[in-house]
């Protein structure tokens, strides 16, 4: 391929309109958005879920999901009109000149084939290179992406490597035909913060080296700030504004953009410690595991006081959720006890009485699966109120309406809806209402905001905060997002491999000296400063981030 020296942009989309079929009606998904992208340039697409980021990203490949159609506009890639190519021509382009990196590498790889075979598929099919050449190229890319043991790495199956490694392998695969344009669709959203960095570093390095153009789609501003030269903000299929990254971060023009920026600054005042009182929940020396031979938790102890929020932080697999399962009684600890207001709770939930069950409530990460899709809002909230408090008839109805008002949802409008007729944030609010309907003393919030957009998540955090002071609740807040911790926690418990590595008030937690793991976690949270990743890589070195850094700690 000869490099063209003309000044026309590589990708040029003008006034693109896309409609989607929903409930037998065509609704607008994208209403006239355009973009220009030059070689070696990275464009960040930002917006809430449903803003049309992914749809626009796929349209840049001339592709539409099932049930969507491009109704108007023009998409030009290197002088080719993508909307008027036949299938044969499109196949020549896709994979070879335009590549796509999906959000979940785990779901996008074929689990039945080795990584190297999947890597070689595209170059062989497009006859870009032969098998041996493709394998060599794969090895060199794996090496450049800091994957362990690059010569052997490709021989593994997708399930044999970690999530972060798989995402890098997928980026390598996208590069297999040396494309001119790569579309990254939330490539790090499903990863832990520490793993996220290694993927970000790899992607950025590659894009620079190959002078590839890229569209980087994400809902996380700080991540996009590291990756993109230009940022475009989308809202419900409309372009809100576009500017260079530096300018966008310093002085956003539109109100919507400003509100997105402001979310990260939400923080409530720290509650005063009430250490003299009896703790609401006391976890002492808990050791537990799913099989008798292997313990997941080892000697975990911490207390949660009245009206306090304790955030439990750690990577996936660190034992956060297992701790929650021990407290609720879903998992019986091998050693140790959980006390509520000083009295030990029976180990299994089956042995707990109604009052004990009532006082420990849970709010789940995925509101979709936490609410029975066939029950109406009225029944979902009424059930705990009827069971625990013996309400019925008119009193119960009144109570449900009160609860809906408490979570800021208009009773008349929502009481007879099904969960599927609510937005993600509203479903999460119903989950909260169900928990407080039991009038508990203690609520476990398991990653309650991680599936939500930032603005919606902020609303949920504010609601939880308000309910805490109104109802004297204690929260155990499980999260991997340190921004959330900063916003809502009073105390922080840092967990790693089933151990509590650090425990203390929030104010101390964010000031050094830290446990090295806490340090790594804190250091891995992307900041809004576009230079953050550069500085981090400079100070730590490419070989001391993510998995590598964790491995070194052992």
């Amino acid at each position: 391929m000869s490099k063209k020296t003309n000044t026309a942009p590589l990708l040029n989309m003008r006034n693109v309109h896309i409609k989607g079929l929903s409930d037998e009606k065509w609704v607008d998904i994208i209403n006239g958005v355009g973009l220009d992208l030059n070689r070696g340039e990275v464009l960040g697409l930002i917006g809430e879920s449903g803003a049309g980021k992914s749809t626009l990203g796929l349209a840049a490949m001339g592709f539409c999901r099932d049930g969507c159609k491009i109704t108007d506009g023009a998409i030009e890639f290197d002088g080719l009109d993508l909307l008027n190519q036949n299938r044969q021509q499109m196949r020549q382009l896709r994979g070879r000149r335009i590549a796509y990196v999906a959000q979940s590498a785990a779901a996008s790889f074929n689990p039945a084939h080795r990584l190297i075979d999947q890597f070689c598929e595209a170059p062989l099919k497009h006859a870009v290179m032969g098998r041996a050449e493709a394998e060599n190229y794969a090895t060199s890319l794996y090496e450049r992406m800091n994957l362990p043991d690059p010569d052997e790495f490709g021989l593994r199956y997708p399930h044999e490597v970690s999530g972060g490694q798989l995402q890098r392998a997928m980026t390598a695969m996208a590069l297999s035909c040396r494309p001119d344009l790569i579309i990254f669709d939330e490539p790090t959203t499903a990863l832990d913060v520490t793993t996220q960095i290694e993927v970000l570093a790899a992607i950025r390095d590659i894009v620079k080296q190959f002078n590839t153009a890229a569209i980087y789609i994400s809902h996380d501003l700080a991540v996009v700030a590291q990756m993109a030269d230009t940022i475009k903000v989308l809202l419900k299929g409309d372009e809100v504004e576009q500017a260079t990254t530096v300018k966008m971060l310093k002085s956003p023009v539109e109100d919507y953009t400003k509100s997105l920026w402001a979310v990260r600054k939400y923080a409530r005042a720290e509650q005063q410690p009430v250490a003299s009182l009896q703790p609401v929940i006391e976890i002492s020396n808990v050791t537990a595991g799913y099989s008798p031979r292997q313990d997941i938790l080892e000697n975990v102890s911490f207390v949660i006081h009245k009206r306090r929020t304790v955030a439990v932080v750690g990577e996936s697999g660190s034992g956060k959720s297992t701790t929650a399962r021990v407290i609720t009684g879903l998992l019986k600890p091998r050693i140790g006890t959980v006390r509520f207001n000083g009295t030990p709770l029976p180990a299994g939930y089956q042995d707990r009485n109604r009052d004990q069950l009532r006082h420990v409530q849970m709010i789940y990460q995925m509101a979709d699966t936490a609410l029975n899709p066939k029950l109406r809002i009225r029944d979902l909230i009424a059930r705990p109120a009827a069971m625990y408090l013996g309400l019925s008839g008119k009193a119960l109805n009144e109570r449900v309406r009160d609860l809906l008002r408490m979570i800021e949802m208009e009773p008349d409008q929502y009481i007879d809806r099904l969960p599927s007729e609510l937005s993600g944030g509203q479903k999460q609010r119903i989950g909260i209402a169900r928990a407080i309907a039991a009038e508990p003393g203690f609520i476990i919030c398991d990653e309650v905001t991680s599936a939500l957009d930032q603005l919606v998540a902020e609303g949920i955090l504010k609601l939880l905060d308000r309910l805490q002071s109104e109802l004297d609740l204690s929260y155990m807040f499980i999260t991997h997002d340190l921004a959330t911790v900063r916003a809502i926690a009073d105390e922080v418990v840092v967990m790693k491999d089933g151990l509590v590595v650090e425990h203390g008030p929030k104010s101390e937690m964010f000031v050094p000296p830290h446990h090295p793991y806490t340090e790594l976690l804190l250091g891995s949270v992307p900041e809004m400063d576009p230079k953050w990743l550069d500085r981090l890589l400079e100070s730590r070195g490419v070989d001391n981030i993510g998995d590598a850094a964790i491995a070194r700690m052992k």
């Binding site: 009684g329 789940y364 995925m366 609410l371 029975n372 066939k374 705990p384």
Partner: protein
């Protein structure tokens, strides 16, 4: 019938069936409320034809004494009378009115098939969901016992059981329901296994809900779509099983009219070029196809496919 007339009549029959289905659908949409109408509008013509047929069969079954000109057991004339007034479809080997027996047959065969399917579903679904919910030893015990029952070929097993317990309607119902509930158990358990791991089941357990509540309110409504579709298919199988048992002489006993035994009783007419024995067989075929049309539509909806 020559090939030519078949070529003309077949498309005419198909088109008129679909037209009847369309008319029925339009009439139904006009007569029900908005949400049901919206649901009905998604039905393809085949499904509305299926619905129409099922409703016709049910009407015949319910109002059999009013519709049938004679009793099912009445011997009215000589054997094998031709198609002529007053015996519109002629008489059978004993001189009973074929039309009347056909109408009563709808009541006997369809009614009993429905009863068996319903019983098999209640037993199979409850045990299947319970098994999935409890897991562990209970699940293993139920599962292996069902495996043993399923390992024996259905027809041979039911023949054996009916020979042991006699051929009364009650034992027929119980035997076939038991055998069929094993299939329902498998499906109900498989569907429920995917549901019991969801957070709302965990939430309900932590709330201290009873097993009955979990099965009836939390799991069953969410397992309804695949189970309903399976109900339609099972119904067809049961129906065919009864008919084939009757044909073998172990199903519904004379003088009760039954489509399966009606085929057997009049089978010799075939050699004389008379189509009378094919009519009950046709009734079985049409109902089976109609039920499957409706099931296809429900399955399609349940799977959430959008063409």
């Amino acid at each position: 019938m020559s090939l030519f007339s078949v070529m003309i009549w077949l498309p005419v029959a198909v088109i008129s069936c679909l037209a009847a289905g369309w008319l029925f659908q339009q009439a139904l949409i006009l007569s029900v409320n908005e949400t049901t109408a919206k649901f009905l509008r998604t039905a393809p013509l085949t499904a509305s034809f299926g619905l129409l047929t099922i409703i016709l069969y049910i009407t015949f079954a319910v109002f059999a004494p009013l519709i049938a000109p004679y009793q099912q057991y009445e011997i009215l004339a000589g054997a094998f009378e031709p198609w002529a007034y007053p015996y519109l479809l002629g008489t059978d080997n004993l001189g009973r009115d074929v039309l009347s027996r056909l109408v009563y047959g709808a009541r006997n065969t369809v009614g009993i098939a429905f009863l068996i399917t319903a019983l098999a579903f209640v037993v199979g679904t409850v045990l299947g969901i319970y098994s999935a919910l409890r897991g562990g030893l209970v699940d293993q015990l139920f599962g292996r016992f069902i495996d043993v029952l399923m390992a024996i070929p259905t027809l041979i097993f039911s023949l054996l059981m009916l020979t042991i317990f006699g051929t009364s309607v009650l034992s027929l119902v119980l035997v076939i329901a038991t055998i069929d509930s094993t299939r329902v158990f498998r499906i109900a358990r498989a569907v429920a296994l995917n549901i019991v791991v969801l957070d709302y089941i965990e939430a309900a357990k932590l709330r201290g809900e009873s097993t009955t509540y979990l099965i009836v309110r939390e799991i069953l409504p969410n397992a309804m779509a695949p189970l309903a579709a399976e109900f339609g298919l099972r119904f067809c199988f049961v129906f065919l099983t009864i008919s084939s048992l009757s044909f073998l002489g172990l199903g519904l006993q004379p003088p009760l009219a039954d489509w399966g035994s009606m085929v057997r009783d009049n089978a010799e007419l075939i050699s004389f070029g008379d189509v009378t024995p094919l009519i009950p067989a046709g009734c079985i075929a049409v109902l089976t196809i109609a039920v499957n049309f409706v099931v296809d539509w429900l399955l399609h909806r349940a799977s959430g496919l959008k063409d």
